[in-house]
Symmetry: C2
Amino acid sequence: MTETPDLPGGSGLPLEPSEADLHDLLTRASGFVEDLVSGLRDAPVSWPDLDEGLHAEIRATIDEQGGSFDRGLSLMERGLPEGFNTASPGFMAYIPGGGLISAGIADLVACAINRYVGVSPPAPGMVEIEWRVVRWLCDLFGYLPESRGVLTSGGSMANFSAIVAARNDRLGEDLRGARIYVTDQAHHSIRKAARLAGFGAEAIRIVPRDERLRMQPEALSHAIVEDRRARLRPACVVASAGTTNTGAVDPIEPIADVAREQDLWLHVDAAYGGFFQMTKRGAASFQGIERADSITLDPHKCMFLPYGTGALVARDGEKLRRAHMETADYLQDLDLGEETIPNFGEYSAEFTRSFRGLRVWLPLMLHGVAAFRDALNEKLDLAEHMHAALTETPGLELPWAAGLTVVPFRVAGEPDVANAATRQVLDRVNASRRVFFSTTTIDRLLYIRPCIVVHRTHRDRIDEAIDLIREATGAVHSQK
Amino acid sequence: MTETPDLPGGSGLPLEPSEADLHDLLTRASGFVEDLVSGLRDAPVSWPDLDEGLHAEIRATIDEQGGSFDRGLSLMERGLPEGFNTASPGFMAYIPGGGLISAGIADLVACAINRYVGVSPPAPGMVEIEWRVVRWLCDLFGYLPESRGVLTSGGSMANFSAIVAARNDRLGEDLRGARIYVTDQAHHSIRKAARLAGFGAEAIRIVPRDERLRMQPEALSHAIVEDRRARLRPACVVASAGTTNTGAVDPIEPIADVAREQDLWLHVDAAYGGFFQMTKRGAASFQGIERADSITLDPHKCMFLPYGTGALVARDGEKLRRAHMETADYLQDLDLGEETIPNFGEYSAEFTRSFRGLRVWLPLMLHGVAAFRDALNEKLDLAEHMHAALTETPGLELPWAAGLTVVPFRVAGEPDVANAATRQVLDRVNASRRVFFSTTTIDRLLYIRPCIVVHRTHRDRIDEAIDLIREATGAVHSQK
């Protein structure tokens, strides 16, 4: 072991700490985590100010001799309140998730064992664990044994690999005149995925939506026929199972019919909504999803896992594999021929990456599937409850039913005035630091869009949120 | 909190455990990690057998009611020996890394805080920490303030984003006739990145190498001129700063001259070798690397971090950003205009992903830069020592000096006989379960290529490896 010099002020902790030092690090990290979690209920959800001194201190870290763990934890502690607390029960902006501690424990173990899981021979036991998780994801959508999937860093990479698989399967290497169909409510990562995969901006064709912001299957069909007549090459349609804006779910069954008739790859972006498939209400709204060629899921959303846990499943695993597989001489010792446990690197844009399987498997294994289903049903109930309460609130407009657990609302009225008032309501509610919402714009109207997904969010916080919204709406109206 | 039913046999641990349960989980996970690390020195490096019963048990996990943490840890414990132990001091196959425990502690904390770091406003303090790390990476190569970078899941994604940036900057949306120049020693992820980014297979042009397996700058220049004459569009050259096969370093300075003259994007794949820039020997062999437009680095290799930690730095940050940036209505509340702390999602193929910054920052901050430099110098010394010892070993052939810390060797003789004998030496050495090597093939000759990078590998294990190689070589020769 190369020892660092024992300079004054620096802990100079060796890369491999002694048993006593390792024990001490783990104990203090555990204490930090325990304090953090127990404080989540009462901590402010957001904090507007930046501590410039702290930022200067952070920029001055990293030096030759090293520093103490206490210093590191103290910088963390001071930096954490800044911005907004995505782990808080009051966080309902964007698409939250919360972050299960059991996944953090899995990550600690995964780092310590540091096994290579890109292909199966180096760690068959660990890859079997990951395969168990991926199989469970495939089963959730009734995919047959030939289906496969990969765990990704998030929805963006899952959507990217789906676009690459669609491209490889339907277009080969020639991208000219290709067309991918989405509505304007699709997540921006689809547009980005297409760009990354080499498509020009014109490859994305926007399909009209209905009054509930869902793709119109007839309009999709017409667009494809029109494009074929113009000698373009329709290749892929992307439906959303829960849009980020409003939680809208595209009508998957009729879209799957069009995709089959017109020979298009059907990708369903279920990054936000996918896990509601575990619930009766969710599964009913996703009818036909088992016919999708590929589905994006984000366990860091509706499985409450920490950020950095996405997934892509593909109905025909071989198509995913053919789009991603490469070989190399230095891998020749590994028996990668006959596949008993998948070599996930062959299905993925990544090769070496972390053992994500463990952070999905341990929570599923420990809490059980019922715990997740129950929590998702609770969130659906909470969204319906909030929707009903806000519908009864004078001065607010809710043009749509709750989209899964998104409850978009606005101050009623003409755009110019109403948008400003809606923004004022948002600012007042967020200033409470008890809840935190974000907005979106649809057809030039500003909407606040509470999204209820943190596993720590329960009825008490939702009722508090409703009160805050009513108070703020009253105050903004009385100002007029 | 939705409670899971308290079914017999299942722990039914709630998604948010009680304080006592959380303390218990953390204590037992810490104990598991402590036992694991203290056992690494004596545990077998590899294990040929699979426990079929265990695999069946793993496939039977995940049910409605959940199971106990003890069961989870016990399945892990039984599955871990299978394959080979990439955290062991005896692991010298492929490109190892070891896995610093301090990074695992960072991951535990990162999961618990679960902050969103894709853009800076949600967590300015945490993104400042990540930015400190990225700045340190840029500084390592003398990059100026306009440089930027991203932390990725590994080298494959870093190389992919580099190819996308080169494509966007030099070709725009039109990929026709594009050419990317590499040698046949480049990592397969370059070929894969080009495919993922929409290039056809013909876009990769192989440039001849010299007798030390390094790109020939004159041959590169000729190839480009020839391609331009054929109305093709030379766009990018990828040099290696430490190939995976042999650790060969392409002559970066003259390649940078050609790239400048011919207006090509110069990407340096330093996934394996990059951090040797911290050492005098490494920096001397990478002369000119500061002129690269982009550099791939893998902290999970020569910074000894756990798998899942790659990086890409770009000399002109704006070029990286323009190639990756997208916007969306639902992000309108975030002030992403003036950049004080980078919005890393704008520079990356990813959007939501884990807080990788912490797992690089905490080890650097805690151990200090000197600890890493010293460890890398130690590994360079060990490689030179092994090279000298094997050169003196009768019957072995070492055609090249150690490439950074890769020491390729083979049994001397005609390919047919020698390749078989080399494979026998490998099998004998690996059967010791004290060290583990892998092979590669270059010009039809099989080479064993020890790669010394695990931070736990010291002189005692290298001397043991040398003895094992000598013994095996003697035994194989005496069989003839």
